[in-house]
């Protein structure tokens, strides 16, 4: 796939249909891929990569890139296309300045996930069917791919691209996944148990803001937490209340707009399962307003910014016993 992508990108660049290419660039190791803008054929040939580690969602970069002169080619994986659509819907990406090529994805792993699976001293990796062969400082190791993928890919919601100008490879389907299983477990807890669960997770937060900065739905030009005039700006959580507040406010703010791309949990240095907060909102929206997938299209009205007579009343929270 990588060779075909480079070849197509070169064609479009040389033909003048696009002026830049947004993709992924190789690093020092097999897994440390960096999102990059390629300006020339030489750069593409030297550094462009598409492999099992290209997990970064490139959609958010298009807020800036689509405002540069000329047209930018971007390669989007299925789940990235949902973020893309949502940002187009919010008028954050200028659609006309982007040429989207949808590329297939079989799940993307990363160095941290491999380490969590017990791999140490990673020197190289090869995918063979449903297995990864990892070369390490301490010998070779074989892993089942399914076990070496992050949660978001194990529970992939869709292999279908919802936005593209051109598609490479075979198109996939929207999938049934177990992505709400953990939310259901949390809902089944008592309020105290649930509070303790979240304190156990959020108490590790170091307020690096990686979750916010990587989030395609967090596209405010000045975040309330960075704005001294807001009265709630903070660089570090002074106490547990502030620790919780940052994440709760963020989850509320992206409610109905979060596409569940899972970047927040991928980038968290402390492995906080932040996606669970968002999935709770997604599940509730599905329950109260009918199934809704943010980013599925660019035209429909979102349940939380729409009004219908059948809308649920706020008192529903009491009927649900605080859940």
């Amino acid at each position: 796939m990588q060779a075909a992508m480079i070849s197509r990108a070169k064609e479009l660049l040389q033909g003048g249909q696009v002026q830049r290419v947004l993709g992924w660039k190789t690093g020092e190791f097999v897994y440390d891929i960096t999102p990059a803008v390629f300006q020339s054929v030489e750069e593409l040939e030297a550094e462009f990569v598409y492999n099992d580690f290209c997990g970064n969602n490139l959609s958010k970069y298009l807020i800036k890139e689509s405002r540069q002169p000329g047209k930018v080619l971007v390669f989007l994986k299925p789940c990235d296309t949902y973020s893309f659509n949502q940002l187009v819907k919010e008028h954050r990406i200028l659609r006309d300045n982007v040429y989207v090529i949808g590329v297939p994805c079989e799940g993307k792993t990363d160095g941290e996930t491999l380490k969590a699976a017990g791999v140490r001293g990673i020197l190289g990796l090869q995918a063979q069917g449903d297995r990864f062969l990892v070369e390490t400082l301490y010998g070779s190791q074989e892993l089942e791919k399914a076990q070496a993928l992050p949660e978001r890919c194990q529970n992939c919601k869709s292999k279908k691209h919802v936005a593209y100008d051109e598609l490479m490879g075979e198109e996939g389907q929207v999938l049934q996944s177990g992505r709400f299983d953990m939310v259901e477990k949390l809902e089944a807890m008592t309020p105290d148990e649930r509070f303790n669960f979240w304190r156990g997770e959020l108490s590790r937060c170091i307020r690096c803001n990686a979750c916010r900065n990587v989030c395609p739905a967090c596209s405010c030009e000045k975040c309330v937490f960075d704005n001294d005039n807001s009265g709630v700006a903070q660089k570090a959580a002074a106490n547990s209340f502030e620790e919780n507040m940052f994440h709760i406010i963020r989850a509320f703010h992206v409610a109905g707009r979060c596409t569940d791309c899972g970047e927040c949990s991928r980038v968290c240095p402390q492995n906080i399962p932040l996606h669970l907060l968002n999935r709770k909102f997604i599940k509730d929206i599905d329950t109260f307003y009918g199934d809704y997938q943010a980013g599925e299209d660019t035209e429909s009205r979102a349940p939380l910014t729409n009004y219908t007579e059948g809308d649920v009343e706020p008192s529903i929270v009491y009927q649900r016993g605080g859940n």
């Binding site: 190791f29 960096t34 001293g121 170091i206 990587v214 960075d226 001294d228």
Partner: protein, 341 residues
Amino acid sequence: MQKLSLSKLDQFLEAMAAHQALYLPVEDHSGQAKFQRWAPGVQLSSTLNTVRSAKDFFFPQTEDLVNFKLRGKEIEIIDPRTEHEDFVVFGVRGCDARSFTILDKVFLADPVDTYYQSRREHGTIVSLACTRPEETCFCTSFGIDPTCPQGDVTCWMEGDALYLTANTPKGEALLAQVADLTEACGDEAVKAQQERVSAILKKLPLANFSTKSFGGQVLMEVFDSEKWGTLSESCLGCGTCTFVCPTCQCYDIKDMDTGHGVQRFRCWDSCMYSDFTRMAHGNPRLTQKERFRQRFMHKLVYFPANNNGEYGCVGCGRCLSKCPISMNIVKVAKALEGDCK
């Protein structure tokens, strides 16, 4: 050199904890290690390193500096500091152990930061030699020997024993507390481990990485490099690299309105943030490119220029593992090497 049978590890930890607070790397439920206070039942993690560095013990993420209490037109100034208790940090790796030397140069230089100083005085560092370095490790590039880390006490875990040697009077005092559990021994086992691990260190992918071309002598050449734009283009502007870094030492001082007074505290700041060093006239670093550049200039150029050539990095590799876009000091130094002329 002293030897402790690992079957007595719990007793050893308990004996130390009886005299002062004891912290050690422990796995959290997400499988990563963090420093945690020892209590009966707490297990030492076998992970190579903690996510947060050991700098937290001396330079915590938030710290109250002074409180003001308002009563009409009177302002009472309250020093919120209580006398620190003595504490031991066990299991510090060679990289983090060196980071204290770097932080000392900042906080113990005139004017001395008394908050930091007090913590340093009360803390005893027990370092633990590395046996399974990872691909992200490059401490040897800064002259650190992870098979013989610095600290008040240095330990090696080998076979069924922990070998210990005191390097300072503080370290000797600590070993005296556990003297009934240890016995004198030769250093053959330690030497064998060091040889074995040194051979692994030579095979690390970053074994030949060097920052030697950088320093104050190439300040303008590096600062003016055209490569900063590309290097920083996908930087998210988050603070992950700075917060997991054992040597990043910038902080901000803020006042919190408590309703009846002011709580003045400091907290870690990050040069990656948009309001870093913002002044009355505005911000001197307008885009992420300048903020990104600041971090690497500080470590590779400004810090060595002011500290006899010592770099502001210990090669722990945390930023290599944790950066959301995998951009880090190794990539930056390699890319800019050519500009150091």
